[in-house]
């Protein structure tokens, strides 16, 4: 057995050439495509990771925005509640003021009405009293009453100042007709009281109820139940 050194050298050279050839045409291209795929997969993973991070960031932003919404909602609710409370307070105060004003107004109106009613009732009572008194006084017709009123008239005339007694014509007004026979006497007594001799005309006015009044252009002496009752009614009405 011997070694063929030339064959050994050729085989070594052949294997070296084969190593180069396969490295050039097989190992490097296949390893390269594997590396490319790995790089592409890594890029996809990195991209996916970046997108995942971006999605997480977006989610965090949305969560923060939602939290902001909640806070803003709470703030708006609190503001609205505060505004509602303030408005309610204002409205309550305004309503209270308005109610108080209405109450005062109603009280004033009621007082006015009460005063008016009281006045009306007073006037009515006065009129009623005067009517009663007139009815009562109407029953007191007669010569005695007439004589008493004549006396009152004469006293009134005498109480007048002398200048006021000057009259040319006068009317003697009575509630009932004075008999013609009595008229000259009554005229004489009046003229005597006046101190002059006026022309006296006798007139009848049932409204006087009872009494004898003297009326002239510059002289008027009210001496009757009607005049007295009018004064009383006026006094009663004004007293209220």
């Amino acid at each position: 057995m011997s070694i063929d050194w030339a064959a050994l050298g050729l085989q070594a050279l052949n294997v070296l050439i084969l190593v180069w050839l396969l490295a050039r045409f097989f190992w490097r291209p296949v390893a390269g495509v594997i590396e490319q795929r790995r790089a592409a997969a890594q890029a996809l993973l990195d991209d996916a990771g970046a997108k995942n991070e971006a999605a997480k960031a977006a989610l965090a932003e949305v969560t923060a925005t939602r939290a902001g919404f909640a806070q803003e909602r709470e703030a708006l609710l609190a503001q609205a509640q505060a505004q509602a409370a303030a408005a309610r307070t204002t409205l309550l105060a305004a309503a209270a003021q308005e109610a108080e004003a209405l109450r005062r107004e109603a009280r004033a109106a009621m007082q006015t009405e009460q005063a008016a009613a009281a006045q009306a009732w007073r006037a009515r009572a006065s009129r009623l009293a005067v009517d009663i008194a007139a009815r009562l006084a109407a029953r007191l017709q007669g010569e005695a009453v007439q004589a008493a009123f004549l006396e009152f008239l004469l006293r009134e005339i005498q109480a007048l100042p002398p200048a006021a007694r000057q009259a040319a014509a006068l009317e003697a007004v009575s509630a009932t007709e004075i008999p013609a026979a009595a008229q000259p006497d009554i005229a004489a007594r009046i003229s005597a009281a006046l101190g002059v001799m006026p022309r006296i005309t006798f007139i009848t006015e049932p409204a006087l109820i009872a009494g004898l009044e003297l009326r002239g252009p510059h002289l008027r002496i009210s001496n009757s139940w009607r005049a007295d009752l009018d004064r009383i009614e006026q006094d009663l009405t004004h007293d209220g």
Binding site: L8, V15, L16, L21, A31, I34
Partner: protein
């Protein structure tokens, strides 16, 4: 009967005699390089079935290099992978009628072992420089220098002998059985020879990786981070 150990020249290339094993090697080279170039013409990111098979082969070689050498496979892939593919193809070329596997001849196995021996030196020097590589012979202490040196030679020789012995014996046995028993009897032996050829290709490549990894690891200078604290 012609001795399986003989390697007569088929023709002469000038002064160089060209035996049958060299011609068979050329055929295998043509097949492997041509096939590789043809199959890798249309590589794409979305692989076809053929490309997936090629990538599986490359990935397996890379994985073996990573597991055995504990380094990135890039610088070693072409050499280790080609060793495996060539020995595998050479061993299985016995299936072709009239073709004797090149690895059944001592010169081919010696050439392969010589290339592994040179590759150990090359990668060792590249990893740690000439000084680093030579210093690796003094590991773990200078007394081991002769033994380490002898080991380098003997393990290379063992590569040669292991591959040659296994392949040549298979061819030899099949030849004897074929001459004695006829056509069909050697078939189980041929199947066993195929298994042996695949296993021997794998063993040769793994041992080459182990030798190169040992040289690289021992020649590589220690980094400060790997040193023990004082």
């Amino acid at each position: 009967m012609i001795s399986p150990l003989s390697n007569p020249p088929l023709f002469h290339l000038g002064p160089l005699p060209v035996p049958e094993s060299v011609v068979a090697t050329w055929g295998i080279m043509l097949l492997l390089a041509g096939g590789g170039a043809m199959l890798t013409r249309g590589l794409r990111l979305a692989p076809s079935r053929t490309q997936a098979a090629l990538e599986l082969l490359v990935s397996t070689v890379d994985s073996q290099i990573r597991d055995t050498m504990r380094v990135e496979p890039g610088p070693y892939r072409a050499f280790i992978g080609t060793l495996f593919v060539f020995i595998f193809a050479a061993n299985w070329s016995a299936l072709l009628p009239g073709v004797e596997p090149p690895t059944a001849h001592l010169e081919t196995d010696a050439a392969l072992a010589l290339l592994v021996f040179l590759a150990v030196i090359w990668f060792g020097v590249r990893a740690g420089g000439v000084r680093g590589y030579l210093a690796s012979f003094a590991f773990p202490n200078p007394i081991m220098i002769p033994l380490n040196f002898i080991e380098t030679l003997t393990r290379t020789f063992s590569l040669l002998v292991r591959l040659f012995g296994n392949v040549m014996s298979g061819v030899f046995v099949i030849g004897i059985v074929l001459s004695l028993a006829g056509l069909l009897i050697p078939i189980p032996l041929m199947a066993l020879d195929l298994l042996t050829g695949a296993v021997q290709a794998y063993i040769f490549a793994v041992l080459a990786m182990v030798f190169i990894a040992g040289a690289v690891a021992e020649a590589k200078p220690e980094t400060p981070s790997t040193k023990a604290p004082p």
